[in-house]
């Protein structure tokens, strides 16, 4: 059997405490697995990078890679940046704020090995998963967003906006290049496009404990951004299919288009 290596990409911004805790927990829960942690820090002013350097001293520079960028440049590009330095054949993407607990990593890996899936995504909305620390408004928005996206996009995945996922590296490289959205919508776009491209996607339940340190942000502008993103995905992944099919029909079956003209 071929040996798998997992590259865990963690984008950070002002996460000096969380990143240390996260790294400890990853090492605690991934014992017999070959992995590396790639921390993409967007020039945090709080000294996140100094803490990462201390962690490198402790765990080794080959296990923890610091790939910093000069300033805040967004999530999508952070993944691309981290991906360039990844040496594993699988990539895990997770948040640094401990809302994604490393104890679920073994179940992601196990699921992938069992099913041979290209993507394993964590879902909060099934039995065994869950959310903690959300108020009613947050739950309502989340539910509404989910129902809307499920009805319009048929993604075949229960949790679209979660970002705790395991990807086959080549698959992530393939889909990330065709994604243009930002923030929440970016996560959704990745999984919807992967689903459309026919990649095998599996789910594992995760719990999501909302930011232990720090404030979560979800305002009116996020909702507007979400709706815009949804409309964009609807056009590019659902309706666009038709245009393509129609064009192809005409190319392949000229007699059919003749009938159409007549």
């Amino acid at each position: 059997m071929e040996k798998h290596k997992y590259s865990i990409i963690v984008p950070t911004y002002n996460e000096r405490l969380n990143i240390a805790l996260l790294v400890y927990l990853i090492f605690k829960h991934l014992r017999d697995v070959d992995f590396e942690i790639i921390i993409v820090d967007d020039g945090s002013p709080d000294g996140t990078q100094q803490v990462v350097e201390q962690l490198q001293q402790l765990y080794g520079e080959d296990r923890i890679l610091l790939r910093a960028r000069a300033k805040k440049l967004g999530l999508g590009t952070a993944y691309i940046h981290g991906l360039k330095h990844a040496s594993g054949n699988f990539v895990v993407i997770m948040d640094a704020d401990l809302s994604h607990h490393p104890k679920y990593l073994p179940s992601f890996i196990k699921k992938q090995l069992e099913t041979g899936a290209s993507i394993v995504t964590g879902t909060r909305y099934v039995k065994g998963g869950g959310v903690h620390g959300w108020n009613l408004m947050r739950k309502l928005t989340s539910r509404g967003a989910n129902v809307l996206a499920q009805t319009l996009l048929w993604p075949g995945v229960s949790d679209l906006t979660g970002s705790f996922r395991l990807y086959r590296k080549s698959v992530l490289e393939d889909i990330i290049s065709s994604c243009v959205s930002k923030g929440y919508v970016f996560q959704m776009e990745m999984i919807v496009r992967a689903s459309r491209k026919g990649y095998h996607i599996e789910e594992v339940p995760i719990s999501f404990v909302d930011r232990v340190y720090g404030i979560s942000k979800l305002g009116g502008s996020e909702i507007v951004e979400y709706l815009k993103g949804l409309a964009y995905l609807l056009v590019t992944t659902q309706l666009f299919h038709f245009t393509k099919l129609f064009m192809n029909c005409r190319k392949k079956l000229p007699e059919l288009s003749m009938v159409g003209i007549l």
């Binding site: 000096r16 405490l17 240390a20 805790l21 400890y24 927990l25 605690k28 709080d46 000294g47 100094q50 803490v51 201390q54 962690l55 402790l58 401990l98 607990h101 104890k103 290209s118 909305y125 099934v126 039995k127 998963g129 869950g130 959310v131 903690h132 620390g133 009613l136 739950k139 309502l140 539910r143 509404g144 129902v147 809307l148 499920q150 009805t151 996009l153 048929w154 075949g156 080549s170 698959v171 490289e173 393939d174 459309r196 491209k197 026919g198 990649y199 719990s207 404990v209 232990v212 340190y213 659902q238 299919h241 038709f242 393509k244 099919l245 192809n248 029909c249 190319k251 392949k252 079956l253």
Partner: protein
């Protein structure tokens, strides 16, 4: 899977090959994938991939055809008064909206929560801090 997907899943599985007369769906990703991610010699994966992309189109087409056939049928046969049949698309959209609201409501009621996880996380955090402090990693300050 969404509402329409649920309706169509059985249809698509009954007629998986029925639509093979349609030209192969142009899938440029599939070439990309063959060169990058499929292990060499694995032609099965590529086939499934193309089939899956096809299936999505089949789903959309079947849905549209079924709905318009039903509507046109009702218009033609005039089982119910024509004026009502003309309004049918509006009813359809309204009922879709009702379905959405219902699903949001049901989802809210059954929202899975995990208060015990927060406690477990606190324990993990305390344990991690203890360990890191011993090893000389700077974890004080911002809590």
């Amino acid at each position: 899977m969404g509402f329409m997907g649920q309706i169509l899943a059985p249809l698509a599985s009954i007629y998986p090959t029925e639509f093979s007369f349609l030209p192969a769906y142009p899938n440029e990703h599939f070439h990309l994938l063959r060169s990058s991610s499929s292990p060499p010699g694995n032609s099965r994966g590529v086939g499934t991939l193309q089939y899956k992309s096809m299936k999505h189109i089949v789903k959309i087409m079947t849905l549209l055809v079924a709905i318009s056939a039903l509507w046109i049928g009702l218009l033609q046969t005039s089982i119910i008064p024509r004026s009502h049949t003309w309004l049918l698309p509006i009813y359809f959209i309204v009922s879709l909206g009702c379905y959405g609201l219902l699903m949001v409501g049901v989802g809210l009621m059954q929202f899975p929560t995990c208060p015990q996880e927060a406690i477990l996380l606190q324990q993990d955090v305390a344990e991690a801090k203890e360990f890191l402090k011993q090893k000389g990693v700077d974890v004080g300050g911002c809590d």
